[in-house]
Every structure is written in C-alpha cells, then in structure tokens.
Amino acid sequence: MMSSESAVWAEGLRKRFGRTEALRGVDLEVPKGSVFGLLGPNGAGKTTAVRILSTLTLPDAGQARVAGYDVVRDADEVRYRIGLAGQHASMDEKLSGRDNLRLFGRLYHLPPKVARARADELLTRFGLADAGDRFVRTYSGGMRRRIDLISSLITAPPVLFLDEPTTGLDPRSRGEIWDTIRELVADGTTVLLTTQYLDEADQLADRIAVVDTGRVIASGTPDELKAEIGSRLDVVVADARDLPGAATVLARIGEPDTDPETRRVSVPVGGGSSTTLPAVVLELDRAGVAVEDVALRRPTLDEVFLRLTGKTDEKVSI
C-alpha cells in the first residue's frame, strides 16, 4: 500500500527493450522531503526506472505514482509536478541560458512575463546571472549541469529526478551541484537521484536502493547497508613473521584474511565487537605478537556495493 507521505511509489515495475530485460520487478517508496539514491553499475536499470517515473517511458507491467498521480494515466499531472535533469545536459545549445529558461517556462504555460521573471529569479538565486546571456554551448561542463538542474526547477516541482547529476564532473563542480541539491531538500523538495558514485549517495541520500540487473538487491539507509556486511577488525603486525601467529589468535573470532604486503590480518566481527577489542589485544600480547596497529573499521559503501553486486545470486535483504 502507498502511504500518503510517499512522493514516489512504485510496485513491480518491469520493462523490456527487445531481448534485454531492463527492469525485472522494481518496488520503490520515497517519503516526502527525503533524498533517495538509486545506486548501481552501468546498465543496472537506474535510468530506465527514472524514465518511467518521469513519464518518458511506459512500463510493461507494474504501477507507479509520483506526487500522488499515476505516471501512465495522469502523465500530464505528473509532468507539472516533477523536474528532470538528465545525464546529458538537455538544453538548447543554440540559445542563451536565460532564453532556455524562458522557453521552458513558456512550455509550462506560464505567461511570457512570468516566464521571464522566473528565469531571472532562478539565474540570480543560483549565481548564474552573469552567464545567463551567454549561449549554452560556451558553458563549461559544470555550468551546463547547473543550468540543467536549474531548468528543472522552473515550476518549483515537489519531486525532482536527477539522473547521474555529477557524472564526469570535476570535484569542485560536483561540490557545487551537491550544495544546490542540499538547498533544494532544505526547501522540502523530494529528490530521487541515480548515481554510480557511492560517496555521492553516502553524502546526499537518506535512503539507498542498490539496483543490479533490473532488480533492487538491497535497500536501506547508508548505515543499515554498512551494518549489513558488518565491521572488520584489522591488525597490523610489526614483523611479517608474526602474521601466522596473529591469524591464529583472530581465527577464534572469524575467518581471517592475511595480507603480507601490508602486514595486515583482517577479520569480520559481529554485533558485540567493541568488547572484544581489549581481549584481542591482550591475547595477541600473550602470543608474543608485536602489534603496530589495531583498528575496528566500518565498511565503506564501496565494499558494501562490491559485495552486493558481486554476488547477485545471494539474495540480500534488510
């Protein structure tokens, strides 16, 4: 069932392009005012999901509602309430930034005067007032993405779809896009973004769904996903000859991974890990192992992602 608090809700979305099954039954629910990250490798089906939710593509099966309206039956109602910024800057390169915004405003059926005022307002607010009169084809990659993002805000839509908003950008431009997204979320906009960058999802998203081969294989908050694969205890020994000894001690906790290169023995730890740390140090000392460093480490989202997408036959659920 769809809760009244959902900005985006989808159930059983399927889509096939010829022989490729792009989506094989995707369920999503994005609460109002939150940022939802769709994470997955290239070809996982992220873009297809966004295209269905933004009314560009029809699903073969399943249902989806955006801002309370069905994406198939009430497509025009949905279109008034969404903004879409694609992977590829979807601007008219032969127009200036300002003319692009005016054009889009008029296509949303704003009166010409209002469309013009709205274009000026958005350019000023997002620091592009000076660049506004230049042709878009002269813009840098970062500016292009920003104007693209801005043009999806013309109607101040409650739901925003951002399909890989920062792919191919330098770190500074990425930071600027992130700041803009955070600003929008502070205003109450719901954002659904797709990304291949885990740090982007970690930085921005309240909840993440990991998509692989057309299916959601895991979902939850970034913390939940990290907890799913658990923390690791890393021990770095002073002398590589002590590695077998250290491994023997750690084998009581779990299966140890030994890396002679970095003189590191690593072992996964369960829930009550904090109490074992002093005990482990004590035991290592008793075994005569000279320890250089001991650390309890939470996994990065990258590790979570690799674990999840590397073993797609193993169902992961939270």
Partner: protein, 277 residues
C-alpha cells in the same frame, strides 16, 4: 515567488489551444536560435548569390536553353526548388540534434501538447524558408529573372514551393527522429545536392542518357521546377513527348506534397509520442 500553474486542458477545444500555443512557442525558439549563428545566417544570404554567379554565369555560358531564352531565367526556378529541398535536411538536422542532446527528453517530460514539437519545428522552418525565398527573388531580379504571367500565377508558384517545403520538412522531422544522432544527420546533409542536381533544375534533361533522364524526369524536384517555369513564364518548359509528371507539373507537385504529408505527418507525430517507449 508563488507560481500559479494552469491546469491541463480538459476539453478538445482547450487541448487544441494548448497545441497552438506550444507550437508558436517552439517557432519562437527556432527563430531566436538564429541569434547564436550570425555566420550561418550570413552564409544563407550569400549562398544564393554564389549559386547564381556559379550557375548563371560560369556553367550557364555553355548551356543552351531548349526553345531559346535567357539561361538565368531558366535557372531561377531551379534554385527556388533547390532551397525548397534543403528544408528536408535542415529539419532533419535540427530534430536529430534535439533528440541526441536530450532537449527532446526535456520537452517530453513537460506537460506540453505532444504534436506541438514537430509542428513547431516545421512552422519555424517555413518562416525561415520564406525569408530565404525573398532574398533569392531579389537576387533573381538583379540578374534579369522576371515574372511574365502576372501576379496571380506567380503567387501560385510560390504557394507550390512553400507547400512542398512544408511537406518535405515533415519528412525531415521523421528522419530526424529516426536517426536521433547529430553526426549521422550531419553526414547526410550533402546528399541533398545530387538529389536536386538529378533533375531539370540546372540543365535540360533531354541530353541525359535515357535511364538517367527517366530518373530525373520522375524526380519531384523536376515537377516542381517545371511547374514554376510554367507559372512564372520562364523558358525551358518541356514540349513534345515528355514524362507524365512533366506533362502536368502542377498536379504532380500537389500529389507529391499530399503523399509526403499523408505519410510523414502521422508517422512523425506517432514516432515522437512513442520515442524510446
């Protein structure tokens, strides 16, 4: 700022009004695009003049008009037809660019009338085409081309040119939606020259080998050129035994236009609606 958004149209009448408004907005877009390419605009103005010099004076000096007459008077309807046929390529390129750059996707994510995008494209092309035609007519007058059969039949000739241009730009829209790739479209552009040359535009077809002559005579360009020559009263109107389209060039041009429209308007609108579905 609080934005008041109009509701989607309820009835048929407001749906049609929406389509028209969106179409006009997109025509406006096509026209303000010209601001970014003053070079192309200047090129478009100079190009007819170059063609007139090249054909009218360089090649024309060696070409004999059948039945006698001024070659430059023979040439002008050919140049009118040639610029008419370029509309196929310019709309093809514009539409393919929109599709490959993602502009089309943005339009489709907006609550606009679906058929407004192709209509706006061909509408903009017609206005630009009329401006180009005015320049070409000016150039023609400068080199001695004249209208001999009165204003009414001259208007009929311009009407035919515009009608076929409109029909051809619909074909361009469909092909643009089909290739969806700017580079491919760019590479197709030069193809328009052989198509307009393989006709009676620049030389009489009588001197061509039989098979080539058949191709040229049945080329819609030839029907258009023959119709214009007849209506303007310019030399080179074929006489005696000629191919069927050239016996009734006006009817042939009308038929070509009707056929193109009947095929490509529904195909384009349908293709635009179902793009990537």
């Amino acid at each position: 700022m609080v934005l008041e958004l109009p509701a989607p149209p309820a009835g048929r009448a407001s749906r049609i009004r929406w389509t028209l408004t969106d179409g006009v907005t997109l025509v406006w877009r096509n026209l303000i695009q010209l601001k970014s390419q003053p070079g192309e605009l200047v090129g478009a103005l100079i190009f007819p003049a170059i063609m007139i010099v090249l054909f009218g004076y360089v090649f024309g000096s060696a070409i004999k008009v059948p039945g006698g007459g001024n070659y430059r008077e023979f040439l002008m309807p050919g140049l009118f037809a040639m610029t008419t046929f370029t509309s196929l390529m310019t709309t093809l390129l514009a539409v393919a660019t929109d599709a490959s750059k993602g502009v089309m996707d943005r339009f489709r994510s907006m609550p606009m009338a679906r058929s407004a995008v192709p209509f706006g494209q061909v509408g903009g092309d017609i206005i630009i085409g009329m401006a180009g035609m005015v320049i070409l007519v000016g150039c023609g007058f400068a080199v001695g081309w004249r209208i001999h059969h009165g204003v009414m039949s001259a208007l009929a000739a311009f009407g035919l040119l515009l009608l076929l241009r409109y029909a051809l730009s619909w074909a361009g829209v469909f092909l643009g939606l089909l290739v969806k790739n700017e580079e491919t479209a760019d590479q197709m552009l030069p193809l328009i020259f052989p198509v307009s040359m393989l006709s009676n535009s620049f030389v009489p077809t009588a001197g061509m080998p039989a098979w080539l002559r058949t191709v040229s005579d049945w080329n819609p360009v030839s029907a258009l050129v023959a119709a214009c020559r007849g209506l303007f009263g310019n030399p080179g109107v074929p006489s005696g035994h000629v191919a069927l389209p050239l016996q009734h060039p006006v009817a042939a041009t009308l038929l070509w236009s009707a056929a193109l429209l009947a095929i490509f308007v529904p195909l384009s609108v349908r293709r635009y609606r179902t793009l990537n579905r």
